[in-house]
């Protein structure tokens, strides 16, 4: 990243990219019906946030942002594991992954 910053790419570009990724995630989350796509949208949002974290960490020479990214990635990995397990369980039970069809808590 350092070399990118030094190569005169302005800060705002990174942020705009981050925002664009985030909005893509949000929109995907809201409009997609497939549970796996929704799940991937969440990952996209998380990584958009990660991008702005590292951007600011480099800008302000603060290591905290970098550390936070590792936390986020760790949580995302755990979440992916649990979430995918749940998705498989749901598919086995309902034989569908359409979000609108799985709005009941009980089977």
């Amino acid at each position: 990243m350092n070399f990118l910053l030094q190569s005169q790419v302005p800060l705002s570009w990174f942020l705009v990219l981050s925002a664009a990724l985030f909005v893509l995630g949000v929109v995907g989350f809201l409009i997609k019906r497939n549970l796996i796509t929704v799940f991937m949208s969440i990952e996209l949002m998380l990584n958009a946030v990660n991008l702005s974290f590292v951007t600011f960490a480099t800008q302000w020479h603060a290591v905290k942002g970098q550390i936070f990214v590792f936390f986020v990635m760790m949580v995302a990995a755990a979440e992916a594991a649990v979430g995918l397990a749940i998705i498989i369980a749901v598919f086995r039970a309902r034989a569908t992954l359409a979000v609108d069809r799985i709005d009941l808590m009980k089977l």
Binding site: V26, F29, L30, I31, V38, V99, D100, I102, D103, L104
Partner: protein
């Protein structure tokens, strides 16, 4: 020396109350009796010691004892716990603790087989505590504490047999009627505070003496409010109705509280605040009229009663009317004199009636008594003394005090002769109904076949004999000496007349009337026993009116009690319960329902709608944070100015 002892006088009965009230149920009966008797006896001993110091050692009165710490101390109001022993409170204390002790002794025999023995004596001691506080109080507020306290004790003792509906209701009636009087007392205290800035009796007297120009209207209203208080406590017109019902309590209670001491508190209070009454001729006139009217009214009601205790109750009201009459003609010492002798002979009458009731196993109906003199000779003898005393025969105690009141009433200007005539007529009626009671109870033949009447035990007869002695000799000191003694506390008594022999003539008339009463009672209830029934049928409606106590209770019920009950039922049931409480509950419930109905739409169960709300919320917050509101404000302002300017042009 004595001043520190003053505090002991009320505290001893208080200790007795606490011991018997808290532990009485667990203590053996003998200990309860001992505690109950020792407390008033010790109080009486202290009072007697004080009296000895005053009479023999020439101790100067008044003696004031003030607690070292103030009771209430705020700007504009300073009240101490101050006890004052002067001539008036000394006489009253001797009566209260002396007669009180005798009645305690009597109660030991009378209540021996009753349930709630310890409770009874703890209440009785509580009464003595509050009564001594009332008598000793050096300011109106402390007197009010005692005043309310004796009302409480009276309520508790009237309702002593609280499982009986009539007793519980009588207690409530006494308490509620007394509240009306207490309201007057309270207003009087507020007026005193507003106009004199103090509640101490001594300071009020000095302030009035220092400024003779003080507004008569203020003093009259204070005095009339005090009179309202006194009519409640002392069972005068129009608030007398609670006293006959108060006879539901045990008979010794009727003797102590509802004859000898508590009901005289109104008279005592007027004597204590006589400075106010002296400065208001209007108030004095009202007092005299109330007293005379009550005396006559209650006496006529006593004529047709058949319950022995109710006859005595109406007689008490009537005699209290005499005391009010005395206060109303500014002869306070005569009133207090009658208070004292009345305490002796009326306590004796009640206790003797209790002895009769006890001997007959609870029978109170005069029509079922008769011929008891053989079976209860001592009770008969002491009752005879008491009846002659209340009827006003010399040399019994009642003669001297009643004579003094009638004489003082006659001398009042301008309509003293009317007051005297009412008083004399009352004396005649008193004599008739008392001898009626005497004949019906003790003489003639037994009116019920089955009579196991027996004389009472000596614990009851002892106090009777002592009280009989007092009823005989209690008036021998004479009103002149008594008035002279009381003069520093209640003002001098002026009983001079320009007519020679007036006093002797009036006395002769009074005695003749008493004798006439005896004669009438003898004809009606001994010589011609069929005469009363005949007279009753002849008089018809009048007799019915009197026998039903002029329907006063019914009139009060229709005019005051029922509308008040209906109003409070309406206010409490419909306004408070249904409208306010019910409406509030309905409103809160409705609000919760309404909010739920709206908010439940959010909980659609659709995952994407949740996500939409989330995103929308985040967007709103983002807008809120990012928009430069100051700048937007400025823009709006500028836009508005331009628009307004454009409009102006």
């Amino acid at each position: 020396m004595i001043s520190s002892w003053l505090l002991i006088i009320p505290l001893l009965p208080l200790a007795g109350f606490l011991i018997n009230g808290l532990l009485g149920g667990r203590l053996p009966k003998s200990v309860v009796t001992m505690v109950a008797l020792l407390a008033p006896l010790a109080s009486f001993a202290v009072v007697a010691q004080a009296a000895r110091a005053v009479f023999l050692a020439g101790e100067a009165l008044p003696i004031v004892a003030t607690c070292p710490f103030p009771w209430i101390n705020v700007p504009g109001l300073h009240v101490d716990f101050s006890f004052v022993l002067d001539q008036l409170s000394l006489v009253m204390l001797l009566v209260v603790t002396g007669v009180g002790f005798l009645i305690h002794v009597y109660s030991v025999g009378y209540m021996a087989h009753e349930e709630g023995y310890a409770r009874y004596f703890s209440y009785l001691n509580l009464f003595l505590f509050f009564m001594t506080v009332l008598v000793l109080a050096g300011n109106a507020l402390l007197m009010f504490v005692g005043w309310e306290g004796v009302g409480l004790a009276s309520y508790l003792l009237i309702g002593f047999y609280f499982t009986k509906d009539s007793a519980a209701n009588a207690g409530k009636k006494a308490f509620i009627v007394n509240r009306i009087g207490d309201f007057g007392f309270l207003i009087a205290m507020f007026l005193l505070l507003a106009n004199f800035g103090t509640l101490s009796f001594a300071e009020i007297a000095t302030k009035i003496a220092a400024s003779p120009a003080i507004s008569g209207c203020v003093i009259t209203s204070i005095a009339l409010c005090l009179l309202l208080g006194a009519t409640g406590k002392s069972a005068q017109l129009p608030l007398y109705i609670w006293l006959p019902d108060a006879m539901e309590g045990p008979t010794p209670v009727s003797a102590l509280i509802h004859a000898a001491t508590m009901v005289t508190a109104g008279v005592y209070m007027m004597a204590r605040t006589h400075v106010l009454f002296d400065h208001s001729p209007t108030a004095l006139t009202v007092v005299a009229i109330v007293g005379a009217a009550t005396a006559l009214f209650a006496a006529t009601m006593g004529l047709a009663q058949t319950d022995i205790k109710r006859v005595l109750a109406y007689s008490t009201i009537s005699q209290l009317g005499y005391m009010f009459l005395a206060c109303g003609v500014a002869a306070y010492s005569a009133g207090v004199f009658h208070l004292m002798t009345h305490a002796f002979f009326k306590a004796l009458l009640f206790l003797a009636a209790g002895s009769v009731i006890h001997g007959l196993g609870g029978e109170q109906d005069l029509r079922k008594m008769g011929g008891l003199w053989k079976k209860m000779p001592i009770t008969f003898a002491v009752t005879t003394i008491a009846v002659f005393a209340i009827a006003g025969f010399p040399p019994f105690a009642g003669f001297f005090s009643k004579d003094a009141i009638l004489y003082a009433a006659f001398l009042q200007q301008p309509f003293g002769i009317v007051l005297w005539a009412v008083g004399a007529l009352t004396a005649l009626i008193t004599s008739i109904y008392m001898f009626r009671l005497w004949y019906m109870t003790f003489l003639g033949k037994p009116r019920t076949a089955d009579q196991h009447a027996h004389e009472s035990p000596w614990s009851m007869l002892g106090p009777l004999v002592l009280l009989a002695l007092l009823s005989l000799c209690g008036g021998w000191m004479g009103i002149e000496k008594f008035g002279e003694f009381l003069a520093p506390a209640t003002g001098a008594l002026h009983l001079e007349s320009h007519l020679p022999n007036l006093e002797i003539i009036l006395t002769g008339v009074a005695v003749a009337l008493a004798a006439l009463g005896l004669l009438v009672a003898h004809i009606f209830y001994s010589a011609k026993p069929e005469a009363p029934a005949k007279l009753a049928t002849t008089l018809g409606p009048v007799y019915k009116l009197v026998a039903n106590k002029y329907y006063v209770d019914e009139i009060y019920a229709a005019l005051i009690v029922k509308p008040l009950l209906a109003l409070s039922r309406f206010v409490l049931e419909w306004v408070v319960d249904v409208a306010i409480l019910g409406g509030l509950a309905w409103l809160l419930g409705g609000l919760a329902n309404f909010a739920g109905a709206i908010l439940q739409k959010v909980q659609s169960g659709n995952l994407r709608s949740y996500a939409g709300w989330l995103a929308g919320g985040a967007a709103v917050m983002l807008v809120f944070v990012l928009v430069p509101w100051d700048f937007v404000g400025l823009l709006c302002k500028g836009f508005l100015m331009i628009v307004l300017k454009g409009a102006g042009h």
